[in-house]
Symmetry: D2
Subunit: 339 residues, 4 copies
């Protein structure tokens, strides 16, 4: 197990600093015979790109054009490692010169320096959110693989809370029918415009918000998950909590379940289990939540006016990617569970 | 990576079904030269034992006497695998005969059967909570190792919520000074007696409660955690969410952070970060929470009157063990971060 | 990857010191649904036992009765970890008292002491050949699994050289028709009696021999092996070279191939490739060889008259077990090579 | 463990097909603080390059200019993944068109097609020797790391046999004082010119030779190697046997040891052990050998006149790289062997 690898059968290994030459990923373990969908790959990248989602995300400009370096031939995966890379372009290292001597508060700069004794001070280096480019590329390949064999499975991410704004129960119940990306901040609500306004204001005023992202897996594969330490829920928790700024994870009813008595909890709606029992997917929809603290980039002089007022909007494609990766890994793992 | 292994440098691999011959664990990667504390080992096991913690836990009787099979010589670890085993005694397989044909609702029985096509129907087999015996034994060894080099580090687990009962802010602030095990249900509160009474009643009436367990790591080692996928918080999330009945995880302020504005959140109490920034331990106290759903064993005819009305009491030693394991793993990992 | 684990999908983790309480193994990753053959397991153990194979092996007496602790229910594997253990009995620790202060020449005693700073001086501790008990048990399970799906695959081990004695070409060509275990020293030759006599004499005189063990895999599974670092030949080389006293490995024609010109080599007998090309099994018979240096236990005062005059006889069941383990691992791995 | 990764602590993951866009490697686990030597990196690449070593190697022209994409800042490693890439240039895919329908005899083409059901037919794809570019780059980083802390350790590779030509005993004893690269075919002998002539002739006539490469590790680090399955000798065997065209491996005296009696073998020259005992390095020089079968590219119409008449010359830098990788991996591993 290496620090920058994720997965056991469908394994991604990522590289890249925020202001280095490039970011990329090697996917090792993707079976041969998967139709490679270059459009899907680029679309997934575009969805996480700064500047893509209306005006409410950081306006760093990167073309993020994915280059597939290996593993695909004549549009089909070879069973060999798939390497994909994007070049960094809008680095603006100059902005970061003053940071060299003064680590940014709330960022990981000082803890990384303490740990490694040497750091790339430009834009956070590898602790930057830019690292998630690699996850999104790998997640796209995981999605290609799974959708070839499980065309009904969908992974739907959306914000259920942005700062003080929350979806109503009716809005949450209805997310499957919405085009989430058409909503500013990926908050599929009648109050979306209001939220957008609040975020724009926050960006201008150097304010930031936290929030909750939800991932709904509809028609998930059955029987995914390994007892004991690699339950589907525990690998998903690791995946979600590996994303920067996360500080909470829930499956199904989550912390709210603690307010119920067992006789009520277990006799009612199966949704309280969140689609996973005994660590293994039951085939029912899986519901996951991640909480994000308010972005710390408000403290960062270099990012003045460029920061994300709420990171959730851009984190959603990353959580979706991590979800596809966990599903792909367990899908392959499951192939060896019976003789 | 195998399904029943946990950790990358300090690696535990566990085995055993609830009503099989034995439960056990191999710890591979524990350095040579650790003073092996047999009393600590047995004490940790006794703390998770059914029937140990007052009257509010399942009364299955197991002596759970640990036998060290390898890896220790003259009271010192050899650097070879440490195997530890307990025999199962109070199996009462007869109780489980009727379950063979009728999987228990809310349990993992049916999902395991779907997955593996063959199951040990006696008491849940490997999906039983009894599996955690192995974790507790491994956690004890992790604790021995770390406390030899970091004598100040403590891992303190307690219930902050049991069903409708919650610690007051003052009680939570004061947990370090309490003898948690002296409180029924490990709920260190003036209302402990009231909670105990409620749990006893629940056991009699076939009712159960969920709750929240908290783990406080005081004086944790500095610089633990690996970017990107093995942040300390993500490995802890995986560890906690691998315990049965968990459905939520929080670091520091957790979901509550979503209610703050960034300017408030980042300007105040460092505790909101929970002792981990950029995925790496800062040396400040680390605060973790896990939510548990109400135990499903109320649905289990065979366990009538033997079930745990709230699993948290017994889960706390397991979460403590998982915490020690993650710390031990990252402590060794950290040794290779700099040349 | 941990030091005492082997395999990637079908993973064994072993434990035990020569004179500790027990030796054992956890097999993690064996699929559910394998018919567990207890007789096969015990038979494999008996074949490696000291004192089993005529008079030409060390006469330490161990019953080596395998106890299956988990993972098997109603004679079928559960898909959970299979733990198997044997107790040590004939330890004779007294014999080893004098060794405590004087490490044995040619043994690993001194290098282990330098490395770990602490050692179990009794009979070599974990560096003893007794460790191979765990391999043989795991190999038996691998064999059960594979033979259920690939009943024609056979793994046949035999000595092709014992000290100065070598099989004739005709004898080597004919090994598949022989009952290898019926030959002293597992040397299936007309000169077997002569070899036995030489070995008996060596044992009496404190002499020892090296030799060559060969493993023939007939009707092997097709398409096993992973490019690039886990070619079937490289994992087999690792497996064989992990056995004590080995110092050479060959596939097919091995070192002799260096004497041929390419035009000859590639135009003739396919057997020169040894059944593996490009790192992947072709379906043709696979031929492997391991060389063993003369046993060093002749230098060991405590073993006077108890030593193995040639370790190959007992190493053959170990190499067979390692072969089954590599095949089982790659058989499962191969299940995810194509979508 | 993934198919295209090697190592446990110092982990390389490689990618790239022979005629794809690029070849590259991610090194994960290299500690922070290593001075990065770009010249060493390029020099190592140049040494394996076709066309570099006189006239006796395949004359494909590649500039093989290494681009470091991440993990290094201000000339020092960051502790983050180090990605290095070279672009493919001299692809000549046209040459390979006719191969599409007719797999080349002796190559891996047909076995890969059987396994994966889809292949990149251009120049062998990933089964091509060009894959070793990634190994050489990773090995250079391993060398940088080790030489910073162990400046005396050297890894010296040379051919001891090329087809029918062998080094004399005196020449072998003297390799440490020679500039191996100054000898055609890296065969440091008075008959080097004769060998070169024979190889040139072979290239013209479509003939090829096998041979033996030796790797001498002088002043190796002490105490490297893990019992039981990751003995230094077994990881080295895996490393060497993962190189294409290898079919034999020896440590120290190797197969020749089988001709000695134990009393002779163990009483004389310590070199017979090859610098490793009980699987662990003793600090004495380590001697390793690999045998290579005659190159099969003589069978390859597309390579007419471009093939390597003896692959050893170019394989030596690859074996050196694999040796540095194993040493680096075990060097870091060894840091956690004692508390």
């Amino acid at each position: 197990m290496s620090a920058n690898s994720f997965g056991s059968r469908f394994v991604m290994t990522s590289f890249g600093e925020s202001h280095g030459a490039a970011l990329g990923v090697i996917i090792d373990g993707c079976p041969a015979g998967v139709r490679f969908d270059t459009d899907l790959l680029q679309n997934r990248l575009d969805r996480r790109k700064p500047g893509h989602q209306s005006q409410v995300v950081s306006n760093r400009q990167e073309s993020d054009a994915a280059e597939v370096l290996s593993g695909v031939f004549e549009g089909i995966t070879l069973g060999t490692p798939i390497a994909i890379m994007v070049r960094n372009q809008d680095a603006r290292s100059d902005d970061y010169k003053e940071i060299k001597s003064s680590p940014r508060p709330g960022h990981a700069d000082d803890v990384w320096l303490t740990k490694f004794g040497h750091r790339d001070h430009r834009g956070g280096g590898r602790s930057s959110g830019r690292e998630t480019v690699a996850r999104v590329m790998a997640g796209a390949v995981a999605q290609m693989m799974l959708q070839q064999v499980l065309p009904d499975t969908r992974v739907i991410g959306y914000a259920s809370q942005v700062g003080p704004f929350r979806l109503t129960d009716a809005e949450r119940a209805d997310v499957q029918s919405k085009d989430i990306d058409s909503f500013p901040a990926r908050f599929p609500s009648a109050s979306a415009a209001e939220v957008e306004k609040a975020l724009k204001l926050a960006q201008d005023q150097g304010e930031s918000y936290g929030g909750i992202a939800e991932i709904l897996i509809s028609s998930p594969p059955l029987s995914l998950g390994q007892p004991v330490f690699h339950k589907l829920k525990s690998d998903l928790a690791q995946a979600f909590m590996s994303v920067g700024a996360t500080n909470g994870f829930e499956l199904g009813s989550g912390f709210a379940a603690t307010m119920s008595q067992g006789t009520d909890f277990h006799s009612g709606d199966q949704n309280v289990y969140g689609g996973i029992r005994g660590g293994i997917s039951t085939g029912e929809n899986i519901l996951l939540k991640a909480s994000f603290k308010p972005t710390s980039s408000i403290l960062d002089i270099a990012k003045k006016g460029r920061h994300d007022p709420c990171i959730i909007t851009r984190a959603i494609p990353v959580l979706e990617a991590m979800t596809w990766l966990v599903l792909a890994d367990h899908y392959l793992w499951n192939r060896t569970d019976r003789i």
